[in-house]
């Protein structure tokens, strides 16, 4: 079953240069998708469009077959519950004046989810391996990796079907990165992930399918295994060749 469908989606600012050009992609439930691209590829724009934070200039986006219409309130309430996001910068993505409990509970309260909020927050904290007393503290008391866990807890508290993650490990250290990868792997047993990143190694650790994006166009897409073992497009080959590997030095 497809969760999200993008059909011939384009996006441009005003009458300016187009950021996305005729993008077709489908997110299937249970198959993690990696969207790989560098700066200027339009990967963050795709994410904003899929979150309903911006509307495409052309083309259609559908969630579970229904058009994604930010003006359709009843639809959006269900959509927001089902589709959540984690952002790149763990410092800017948590409100410094809110307690962790309130940060994590925000989707439940804003979407008026009828549930025991405290229990749901405690459950989300446990899922991201943070101690229960985290709830009563403020973001500035935590490291970058811990903050990213808090952001992930907020994204999963409404038990979404789909979590979109924008460069979630690029601001983190290597060992923290690998722990977040492990966490995301565990979470992806219950929810589908879309990872947007410039780091093909990170995306490859978690995704079944890949989309390679260059300058607003999809240059290659398909199962990750096929693309990594036999990249067809020159840009994909260059991306793979540019990724530093430990094996080259040891």
């Amino acid at each position: 079953m497809s969760l999200v469908d993008l059909a011939a989606v384009s996006f441009a600012y005003g009458r300016g240069r187009s950021v996305l050009d005729g993008v077709d992609l489908r997110i299937e439930a249970g198959r993690n998708l990696g969207i790989v691209g560098e700066s200027g590829s339009g990967k963050t724009t795709i994410l904003r469009l899929m979150l309903g934070l911006a509307r495409p200039t052309a083309g259609r986006i559908a969630f579970r077959g229904e058009p994604l219409d930010p003006g359709n309130r009843p639809f959006m309430r269900g959509f927001r519950r089902a589709v959540q996001a984690v952002f790149q910068d763990p410092y800017s993505s948590l409100d410094p004046r809110q307690k962790v409990a309130d940060i994590i509970a925000e989707p439940l309260r804003s979407l008026k989810v009828e549930t025991d909020v405290d229990a749901a927050v405690a459950g989300a904290l446990a899922s991201v391996d943070l101690p229960p007393d985290t709830a009563g503290r403020y973001p500035h008391e935590f490291s970058g990796g811990q903050r990213q866990r808090i952001a992930i807890a907020r994204a999963i508290v409404s038990r979404p079907d789909l979590v979109l993650a924008d460069e979630v490990v690029s601001a983190l250290d290597l060992t923290t990165r690998i722990r977040i990868v492990d966490l995301l792997k565990t979470l992806s047993e219950k929810t589908t992930l879309v990872l947007v990143s410039h780091d093909i190694g990170f995306v490859a650790l978690l995704c079944h399918d890949l989309v390679i994006l260059e300058k607003g166009r999809i240059v290659e897409q398909g199962p990750a295994r096929d693309i990594l073992s036999a990249p067809r497009h020159p840009y994909t080959r260059r991306l793979l060749a540019s990724t530093p590997r430990l094996a080259d030095f040891a």
């Binding site: 996001a85 952002f87 800017s92 993505s93 409100d95 004046r97 940060i103 925000e106 403020y138 500035h140």
Partner: protein, 283 residues
């Protein structure tokens, strides 16, 4: 449980600087005196209780004015007037300024440009001139028009500050996260924007309070403030001007009162800056 209280300020190591304590003490003294005048004054402010232009004495701590009224009593009442005008003007400036500033921050580019330009023009306009125009347009000078005039003049500055602060907050990822969480724009203002811009705004309100006290004294000095029997410091200064050589204390005493309150407010504002924003955002 959707109506969660807005976030509390994080617990902090609140260091009270000596400057803040001095400021708070000065402001506290004026507030106490101002409140006291509601129930008690040394003399009836309108009564002639001694000789004209008498120098300070045990009976009349600040001497008497040219009608023989007790100056200390008038200065005490002046504190009440100054504080009333200051708080009234800051309340108006806060209500109008924060609302307009938030609207500008959320508005489309075109609306924001128009609002920002309007605010810049208003700010370039001398506060006193603006206040005089408002007083002139109203039904003559009284306490209400003075408060309204000073408040409206100050609201432009508050609006511009609010707009800048709110824009900075709106650019943060936690606002995008809030939108993705389904939080409405009003909710975003209440839960995220206001708690984050409040500390800086509070400091600015304290400074605006001091400016409002000076503006009120200036208006009264020009005869555009509260009319007698409201004993404004500005009016006392103006009345003392003619006799400043023969009875200098008539000008010195209200001057000391005015300066001590304004300095107190400024020190208080400076100290508040350190106390109000304890979240050392690590970055």
């Amino acid at each position: 449980m959707t109506d969660a209280a807005p976030a509390l300020a994080p617990p902090a190591s609140r260091r009270l600087t000596p400057a803040f304590l001095v400021g708070a003490a000065l402001v506290g003294l004026h507030v106490a005196v101002g409140l006291l005048t509601l129930v008690w004054t040394p003399y009836d402010p309108a009564a002639m209780t001694g000789g004209r232009l008498a120098p300070p004495s045990l009976l009349h701590w600040a001497g008497t004015d040219r009608l023989g009224r007790d100056l200390f009593t008038e200065i005490m009442i002046g504190a009440r007037i100054a504080l009333a005008v200051g708080s009234g003007a800051v309340a108006i400036a806060a209500a109008i300024g924060v609302t307009v500033g938030l609207l500008a921050a959320f508005a489309s580019r075109a609306v924001d440009d128009v609002l920002a330009a309007t605010l810049d023009i208003l700010i370039a306009f001398p506060t006193l001139l603006l206040a005089m125009l408002i007083v002139a347009a109203g039904d003559g000078a009284n306490l209400g028009t003075a408060i309204l005039a000073i408040g409206i003049a100050a609201s432009a500055i508050v609006a511009r500050l609010t707009r800048i602060l709110a824009r900075r907050v709106l650019a943060m990822d936690y606002i995008t996260a809030a939108r993705v969480s389904g939080t409405s724009w009003l909710g975003i203002v209440r839960i995220h924007v206001l708690p984050n811009i409040w500390p800086t705004l509070i400091v600015n309100f304290a400074l605006q309070f001091g400016l409002a006290v000076i503006a009120e004294a200036s208006l009264s000095y020009l005869g555009l403030g509260a009319p007698p029997p409201n004993a404004s410091w500005g009016r006392l200064l103006q009345e003392a001007q003619a006799t400043v050589y023969t009875a200098p204390f008539g000008a010195i005493a209200p001057g000391i009162a005015l300066v001590s309150l304004v300095i107190g407010l400024n020190l208080f504002a400076d100290g508040l800056r350190d106390v109000a924003d304890p979240t050392r955002r690590r970055r």
